[in-house]
Structure formats: structure tokens, C-alpha cells
């Protein structure tokens, strides 16, 4: 037998097939109850235009507004209008936010991952005069329905966040199911 087909109760089917190569391979499933997500959500959004008018000493949501190439959104979970990532699969997500500050002479700068409107994880507080590339990485659980993630930035003087897919971007990927 080269494959096993498991039919759903009402429709659909899953086929488990052996590779057409010599040798014996073993697939061992964990002794847990859960859903295996082989293709969890992955997103790469970024700023396509400079975000100006950032006030001094004020944490400001970064308006990541595009997923155009080289960006992507494999599960259509990133809203480029609200600038939020709301994954529809429950699980643990590795999130990276980066922002390039672009003007002013701030002496303190930091960015953060926000979960449901509150700060979840801060990056390093960069103490250096002038624009900097700031970043933060966090591991976050999302419930797959209402939880959402955003990137926020802070600088001690008024300024802006610079556009560019490698300058100011939001990336997230599911690393483990719930």
C-alpha cells in the first residue's frame, strides 16, 4: 500500500502517502490532543511611505500599510488599514518589529510589540542621538480569534518613521499550535 486515505465525516479527505524512494520512514505523532498546522500563518508587512508627525516622547502605532512584494500574508491575517495582525489560528507566534526613525535628534528611542492595545514586549532602549534602526522580537500566544498584534515606536523628540521593506517592517510566523 502506497497511501492511506482518511475520509471526513461529511466531506473531504486526508491522504497519507509514502515517498516513492527506497527505505523505511517513520512518522510519529505526539501523544497529545490537538490540531497539527503544517502551514501556519506567516506575514511580512512594512511601511510604504514615511510616517510623519510622530510626537515627542509619545508611543505611536506604526502604520504598516502594505504586504506587497517582498512582503506577504499567507493567511490574509494582516489588515493594512488598521495595521494589525489578527491570526485566525490559535498558537504561539514569533514576532519581529523593526522601525527606522528618520528625523529629529532623539536621544532615547525604542519600539515595542503591542498585544490587544497594550505593550507586550519592549526592544532595547537605544540611547544615541540621531535616527536609529530599532527592533524587538517576542514570542506571543494568540487565541486565533480576538487577539491582535501591532508594532509601536517611541522617540524622545518629534520625528518620523521611514518607509521601506527593510527599514520599517512587521514580521510574524506561527511556531507552534495551541
Amino acid at each position: 500500500m502506497s497511501s492511506i486515505i482518511v475520509s471526513g465525516d461529511t466531506s473531504g479527505a486526508i491522504t497519507i502517502a509514502a515517498p516513492a524512494v527506497a527505505g523505511t520512514n517513520t512518522l510519529t505523532l505526539p501523544a497529545v490532543t490537538g490540531t497539527v498546522n503544517l502551514n501556519g500563518p506567516a506575514v511580512y508587512a512594512y511601511l510604504s511611505a514615511n510616517q510623519t508627525g510622530v510626537s515627542a516622547a509619545t508611543f505611536t502605532k506604526i502604520t504598516f500599510n502594505t504586504i506587497a512584494s517582498p512582503g506577504f500574508d499567507t493567511n490574509s491575517n494582516f489588515n493594512t488599514s488598521t495595521n494589525r495582525f489578527t491570526p485566525t489560528m490559535a498558537g504561539y507566534y514569533l514576532v519581529t518589529v523593526q522601525v527606522q526613525t528618520g528625523s529629529g535628534s532623539p536621544t532615547q528611542q525604542v519600539c515595542a510589540v503591542y498585544k490587544n492595545g497594550s505593550a507586550y514586549m519592549y526592544g532595547n532602549n537605544v540611547v544615541a542621538t540621531g535616527p536609529q534602526a530599532l527592533n524587538v522580537t517576542a514570542l506571543v500566544y494568540c487565541n486565533g480569534s480576538t487577539d491582535y498584534l501591532e508594532g509601536w515606536g517611541y522617540q524622545s523628540t518629534a520625528g518620523s518613521f521611514l518607509s521601506g521593506s527593510s527599514a520599517s517592517m512587521f514580521q510574524a510566523v506561527m511556531v507552534r499550535g495551541a
Binding site: 510626537s55 509619545t58 508611543f59 505611536t60 502605532k61 502604520t63 495595521n83 532602549n125 517611541y154 524622545s156
Partner: protein, 56 residues
């Protein structure tokens, strides 16, 4: 004039350290929704949170 500038004008003794993420006792935010800056946290040990009249 930004909210930060207004607060500094009301309380000149405040410094940027009072507004720092994580360690500051005052937190200003802007949700980029067109509603502008707002005070998300005010936990200063001696200075009272400015009133809407003071900030107007």
C-alpha cells in the same frame, strides 16, 4: 503644540526620563487613528494628572 509640550509647559520640572517606556511614570500614546496623542498612564508620585482645561 503637542501633548508632550503642553505637559512640560504645565510641569517644567518633568524631564524626558519621566516619559521613558518601562521606567517612566507617565506614558503618552498615539494610536495613529486620527484622534491624536493621549495620556495612557499617569502614575507620577507627586504631580497630578493635568485636567482637560489645563491641556486645552
Amino acid at each position: 503644540m503637542s501633548l508632550y509640550d503642553k505637559i512640560i509647559t504645565i510641569y517644567p520640572s518633568l524631564t524626558i526620563l519621566d516619559f521613558l517606556p518601562n521606567v517612566g511614570t507617565i506614558r503618552l500614546e498615539n494610536a495613529s487613528d486620527g484622534k491624536g496623542d493621549y495620556i495612557a498612564k499617569w502614575e507620577h508620585p507627586t504631580l497630578a494628572k493635568p485636567t482637560e482645561e489645563q491641556l486645552a
